[in-house]
Every structure is written in C-alpha cells, then in structure tokens.
C-alpha cells in the first residue's frame, strides 16, 4: 500500500509550466536549425531576425503570416478535437486534401456555400471509416488514418487526371473557380481571406463547446479515461465517432477554404503537409483552443517568413521543415510525459 503525496499546483504555476513546455521544443528546434545554418556557412541569428521581421514586421507581413496560419488553424483544430477524445487521428491531411478537391469542384458549379459544405462532407467521409472501425472493432486508428492519407492522395490524383482536369494546364489541376465563388478577401491588397475568420470562429466555438457542452464534457472524459467514462454511462464508441466526424468535417472545410480562398482550384501538391503540421500545432497547443491559435500562428509565421527569407538570403525554404519537424518531435515529449 502506498500513498503518493502530490501537491495541487495552482492555476498560475500550471499556466507557467504549460508555457514552458511549449517553449522548450521551439528552443531545441532553433538550436538544431542554428547548427545546420552554422555548418553551411550562414549566420543563424541574422536569419532568425529576418524570420521574425518577415513574419511580424508590418501589416503586410502579419497578413501573410495569418494567411499561412489559416490552413493550420483548421488542421490543428481538427487534430486537437480527435486527440481530446483520445483518438489518435493522423488522417487530417487526407480530409483536408479531399475537402479541397471536393470544394473546388462543387464550387465550380454550385457556388461558394455549396463548395464549403461539400468540402466538409468530404472530410467527414475520409474520417468515417477509421472512426467506425475504431469504435466498433477497436481497429488501431493510427495506422488506418495514416494509410487513409495515402489512399486519398492516390484517389484525388486519379479523379483530377481522369475526370476533372482543366484544359490547357500543364500540371494536373482542376479548372479555375469563378471569382464569384471565391472566399472574399479580408484585407485587400494583402492575400488574407475570410477563411481565417471561419477558422477563428470555429476555434472559439470549440473553446466554449468543449468546456461547457454535454457532448464536450463526454468527449473530455472519454479522452481522459475511457474505462471510467463507460462505467458512468458515457457511450464511448459514439463519442469516438462523433469526435472523428467533427475532426473530419473541420479538416474538409479547411481544405475547401484553402481551395476557395487561396488556390482557387485544386492542384497537385495542394497541401504541403498541412495535416501533418496540424498535428504539431495540436500537440504544441496541448489541444486547447488558445494553444491551437498560438501554434498555428507560430508555424504560419515560420512558413510565410521562410518563403520571403528565401528571396532575401540564399537560405532555402526547406530549413522551415527542419524547424517545424523538430518542434513536432519534441512537442510530443512534453505532452506524453505528463500522463
């Protein structure tokens, strides 16, 4: 028999520790990225300064950062919802991509709203099978969702080349969506679309819903302790499915918003791994609403600044992947150790 004495940390120190936990992976990433830069004859400090300036120095740059953060808000939120329910969904990438293709195609014929709805439904479609398999047969969702990403990639590639290919375009892409079906710009002339507003509204809804709704309560309890939840009469299988479907819908909507707001069509390489970066966003933000926003903005800043930094220095954009991948690896360490 043992009694484990444990202090009850007050809220202030809890916020501090979670802040600390979120900063550590970034510091490690900056150190590793710095080593790479140094080894290849660049000054890391100068580059990091450039990054900060290029991400937050001026309205245009902030707009670019928010624009780059928008898809990550969607994918980060989609991942966070599933994680919160204890479902390890790594299939948000697939939902995002199919949502993009579906949104772009439907919007072409039926307009903006229909495009968004269709995109969300496409995302639901992607997550439905792993969700059902997990809830009904306890099939490991990590592998099924991971694999579904590749299935979606092949499927969308085929759909585009076989049926939806725009005429007169060299690479595989769907026709340009008419301007009337675009998501309106928020801050013309900067390329920030109202997609970011949709995403932020969703994040806020999530914050309130997860904390104060009956379903949000059940989702949290299922994520914390499924055995306890089942014994208290929470239908765990149903909660898992609901969380996965919502996650899929948000991923699909994110893809549609990206297609209708930014790319204005669906093209090959539509998502440079937004779904996977979304995992890092959710982990770093510890599945909380505020954390997802901060994480998305940070990764968005990296991406947008990396793109322009590439123009001003001869440092390739790929360094951004080194940084964000490192954050991903180390963000997890913090999250899983506290369990």
């Amino acid at each position: 028999m043992s009694v484990c004495p444990r202090s009850n940390p007050d809220k202030y120190s809890r916020v501090l520790t979670s802040g600390f936990r979120a900063v550590v992976p970034f510091v490690i990433a900056l150190v590793i990225g710095g080593a790479v830069l140094l080894a290849t004859g660049h000054n890391p400090l100068a580059f990091y300064q450039l990054l900060v300036r290029e991400s937050f120095g001026g309205t245009d740059r902030i707009a670019a950062t928010l624009s780059a953060a928008t898809p990550l808000l969607f994918t980060g939120l989609a991942t966070a919802i599933a994680f919160r329910a204890g479902v390890f969904n790594v299939g948000v990438e697939g939902g995002f991509v199919l949502g993009g293709l579906t949104g772009a195609t439907v919007a072409l014929h039926a307009g903006l709203l229909a495009g968004c709805v269709a995109g969300a439904l496409a995302g639901v479609l992607v997550s439905a099978l792993p969700a059902w398999l997990k809830a009904r047969w306890n099939v490991d969702e990590v592998v099924t969702t991971l694999m579904s990403n590749f299935v979606v990639a092949g499927l969308t590639g085929w759909l585009v080349t076989a049926f939806l290919q725009a005429k007169g375009v060299a690479n595989s892409a769907t026709p340009l969506i008419p301007r009337s079906a675009w998501l309106p710009d928020l801050l013309p002339p900067y390329g920030l679309t109202s997609g970011v507003l949709i995403a932020l509204v969703l994040v806020m809804l999530y914050a309130v819903w997860i904390k104060h709704s009956v379903l949000g309560y059940e989702l949290r309890q299922t994520g914390l302790n499924p055995r306890f939840s089942a014994a208290q009469g929470i239908r765990v299988g149903r909660v898992i499915i609901v969380s996965m479907l919502i996650s899929g819908a948000i991923a699909g909507l994110g893809g549609a918003a990206h297609a209708l707001g930014v790319v204005h069509r669906f093209v090959d390489g539509f998502s440079p791994g937004y779904g996977f970066t979304g995992i890092a966003v959710a982990l770093l933000g510890r599945n909380s609403a505020v954390g997802v926003v901060l994480g998305a903005v940070l990764f968005g800043a990296l991406a947008s600044a990396g793109t322009t930094a590439q123009l001003f220095s001869d440092i390739p954009l790929d360094i951004v992947d080194v940084l964000s991948g490192t954050v991903m690896v180390f963000a997890v360490i913090r999250l899983w150790r506290q369990r």
Binding site: M1, S2, V3, C4, P5, R6, S7, N8, H212, S213, V214, L215, Y217, E218, R220, Q221, L224, N225, R227, F228, S229, A230, A231, Q232, G233, I234, R235
Partner: protein, 487 residues
C-alpha cells in the same frame, strides 16, 4: 548459521502511511515461513524490502546472520533470494521454455542451445516434482502452470530462498493443493520458502513458522504447532475494529434485481446481498453484466424492467448505482476535476439543451461532496490530489446521491482506513433501510458477514450456495468458496 533471511527493526513509511514499523523477523534456512496479515498489514512492503526492491527508512535486512544493504533486486538475487510476484513476469507469446531461460539462456555462440535448455528445464521440474508442457505458449496455459514456471525460473537463477507474494490469490482449490505440494517439495530439497498470504487454512497446512503482521507491526512469530485456526484468525484480525456488528434488514420488499444466466440471483428492496468467492470465481463478470459493461449471458431485470440489452446510461437512468472495485481506473477519473467526477452519469440530466451551466455544475458537485464529508479544496482540483479514503467518498457520494433502486458495490472499502470503512458501512445500511437493494461484492469476509442479509458464494463462475448473513456463516462460506458442500 540459522537466520537465512530476516529483518531487524525495519520501518518504512509512504507519506503518512506507516507500512512497516519496527518489524523484525527471522526466517530459518530450510523452512517454510508464512507471513500473514490482512490487506494493508504491511506484508508486501516487507517482502519488497527483503528482496531489495525497496529500502527501509530505518533498520536492516539480515542475510545469513549478517546485516546487509540491498540496493536493488540484483543484490537480492546475488544473495540467492528469488521473488515470485503476484503479477507474474511471464510473456504470453513465448513458450514456457523460452520464458524459463529468458535472460539466462544456455548458448552456443549467438545461438540458444535448445537441447541443453530443455534438459535443464526437465531436470528442474523433476526435482520439485512437476511436469510442464514446455512448448506451449504461456498465453495458453493456466495461471497455476505459469506460476510453476516462475518458481522454476527463480530456482534456475540460483535462488535458494523463494518469496511468494499471495501466490494462491488467483488459484482454484486443486491448484492450491498442487502449489502447497510444490512448496513442501522445495523444503525437502533444502530450500527456504517465504509464503505471504492472508488465508489461514493454507498457511496452517504448509508453514513451519508463522509471522503475523497487523497495522505494519509484527504481532507474533510462532511455530505452527502453537496455533490453530481460531487463534490465528484472532491474531490476524486483532480486536475487531470498524465493524459495528450484524444488523439484519427489518423489511424487505419486491425484487429490484434478478439475474438469470451462468450466475442466477436476486436482490429485494431493503436487502443487502453479499457475493463471496475466491478471486476470479466470476464476481467481476457478474458485476460487469449487471452494470452493462459486458454482454449479457441471460436475462437481467431491474425493478421489473428487462435491462439485459440496455446500455449503461439507460440502466443508470432506470435506477442503478455502481461503486467500482477499481477506483483508480474505473471509479474515478484521476486527472479530471472533482466536479467532473461528481457529475459523471448525471451530466445529461444537469444539462439544459445540451449545455452545462458552470454554476449549476459547481453547485451540484459542492452539494454532493459536502454531503458526504469529502475533504477538498476546490471543485476544480483533480481527483488524484485527494487521499484514498476521500476519493472513495467522492465515489460513494456520486452513486448514493442519486438514490439508486439498486446499488452494485464492489469492494467499497478497498484501500480505505477504519474510520472511512465504518462511514461507508453506515451509508450502505442507511441506503438499505431506505428501501434500496444492494449487491455487495467483497474480498473481505468480515465485511460480507457484517453487512449482508444473505450471502451468495461463487465458485468457478457458478453459484456454489447461499448462506444467511451474520458471523455464524463464516465456516460455511469458507467451505463453499472451495467448491465443497458444507456438512
């Protein structure tokens, strides 16, 4: 050399809990020495210290008459001490032979010399008089067989003192007999055996000397000849504390629960029905079927309504309450707030149009927690921060506050101190006297005898018999638990 293994004035505390206090034991070579006591008497802590898994706060371990410091299990093994833990370190997908040699494989180069391994295995097995299916997977053999392999493994690793921690907890009676025979065989082969148990009959049947622990202290060490059943039980239990005595039900009403299936029983309103049996006799299955966590194998009715196919939430809505025997992973969500723990199961009725009002949640939680004298700071504190007794009060409060027609209480006082136990017993009786039915599953015979109006004894997943509550039924239950019929 007389003392092969022992403790001299050993104390060990975990926070406020004094698991061992000035414990001294002497285990002589070539004997079977039993260490007995109730749950929480400090047996396991002492054994962990003797093996080197834990270090005493003060006092020393004695090996071959010399005081020694054991820094880890490796030291214990080095001194020829082997531990057969309750959680067997057996790997299900490996064969028994593979499990036996794992870590100390006989080899020729990088290859395992299977012929030699098999030879050693057979030799060991015949020395203690067992026969084992060496090529079977550990997953496919009984716990009893796995335990024998575990014992042989300790011997193969050079142990001549074997510590067995509650080895009979999960064994059927015939298997217990086999184990006791094996232990006697070990003694005849010159080994020393330390046998931890709280089962009086087994101890009397096999031990040469018996040390009784109670409340972390040694009460006595005596040769087995000086003791009989009654005197040993008295020594183990001591003065009966925490038990207010048997008070049978005044009025019973209609049946609130009927179960028909591999186990059939019924509970009437105003009645506590106890369920006894050695661990693994079908108690868990019964509880899970009634609560709805396991597919039914027959018909279950709650207050006349067939609930066999209803999910847990509908059963709860129909008037079922459930105190889980596994507080840490099922009864409570340790990382969730007290408020969230308290409203679980009631949260749907607390909600308005799908939303939970924070003030309403807080008020509900406060009312329940205060009503059941839980000592806590804020309702936002996580359950883990409470002491074990307080945690159990949260569970009790959550379940009783709903005034269930039927309460399923599995091990309701497990890990709770004497004061908390009395409190919980009073609450259960009050619930009964209010006209609810209680299905009480417990490993503690005294608790069952004290609280139950009737006691159903399970054996091998079936009902072995039924006896009335009260102290007079003790012997009959013991016999039924072993699958025999009382004379």
């Amino acid at each position: 050399m007389s003392v092969r293994l022992g403790a001299r004035d050993v104390s060990r505390a975990f926070g406020p809990v004094r698991a061992n206090e000035g414990v001294s034991v002497e285990i002589r070579a070539g004997t079977v020495h039993a260490v007995v006591g109730e749950n929480g008497a400090g047996k396991t802590t002492l054994m962990r210290i003797l093996y080197g898994l834990d270090q005493p706060d003060s006092g020393t371990v004695v090996i071959n008459d010399q005081p020694v410091r054991l820094r880890g299990p490796a030291d214990g093994i080095g001194h020829g001490i082997g531990l057969v833990p309750q959680e067997l370190a057996m790997i299900g997908s490996l064969t028994l032979l593979e499990n036996l040699v794992l870590g100390t494989e006989p080899r020729s180069g990088p290859r395992i010399d299977w012929a030699r391994a098999r030879g050693e295995a057979e030799e060991l097995a015949s020395r203690v008089g067992v026969e084992l299916p060496w090529t079977a997977l550990a997953d496919n053999v009984s716990i009893s067989v796995r335990q024998q392999v575990e014992i042989l493994r300790a011997l193969r690793r050079g142990a001549d003192v074997l510590i067995l921690d509650e080895p009979t907890a999960a064994l059927a009676p015939a298997q217990v007999d086999d184990l006791l025979r094996l232990l006697r065989g070990l003694r005849e082969a010159g080994r020393t055996v330390v046998f931890i148990s709280h089962k009086v009959d087994e101890v009397l049947a096999v031990a040469d000397e018996i040390t009784v622990l109670r409340g972390g202290k040694v009460i006595t060490t005596r040769p087995v000849g000086d003791l009989d059943r009654t005197s040993l039980i008295e020594l183990i239990v001591g003065q009966q504390v925490g038990f207010t005595g048997f008070v049978p039900s005044a009025v019973t009403g209609d049946e609130v629960l009927t179960v028909a299936g591999s186990v059939s029983l019924s509970v009437r309103a105003g009645e506590i029905v106890g369920v006894a049996g050695i661990a693994g006799s079908g108690q868990d299955e019964l509880v899970e079927r009634v609560v709805g966590l396991r597919p039914p194998d027959g018909r279950i009715t709650l207050a006349g309504q067939d609930i066999s196919t209803l999910p847990v939430d509908r059963r709860r809505a129909a008037g079922l309450g459930y105190i889980s025997g596994d507080r840490r992973s099922e009864g409570l969500s340790m990382d969730a707030s007290l408020a969230d723990n308290t409203i679980a199961g009631t949260h749907r009725t607390l909600g308005r149009h799908g939303w939970l009002k924070p003030s309403a949640v807080r008020a509900y939680a406060k009312r329940v927690l205060d009503g059941y004298s839980v000592r806590y700071g804020r309702t936002t504190a996580v359950a883990r921060t409470l002491s074990g007794g307080n945690q159990q009060r949260v569970v009790i409060g959550r379940e009783l506050d709903r005034d269930p027609k039927l309460l399923v209480a599995a091990g309701p006082t497990r890990g709770v101190d004497v004061l908390g136990m009395t409190y919980i017993h009073d609450k259960l009786r009050a619930l009964r006297d209010n006209g609810s039915g209680v299905l009480l599953v417990s490993e503690q015979l005294d608790e069952l005898l004290d609280l139950s109006d009737r006691i159903i004894v399970l054996h091998g997943g079936r009902v072995a018999g039924e006896v009335p509550g009260g102290p007079a039924s003790r012997t009959a239950i013991g016999t039924l638990m072993l699958g025999r019929t009382p004379s």
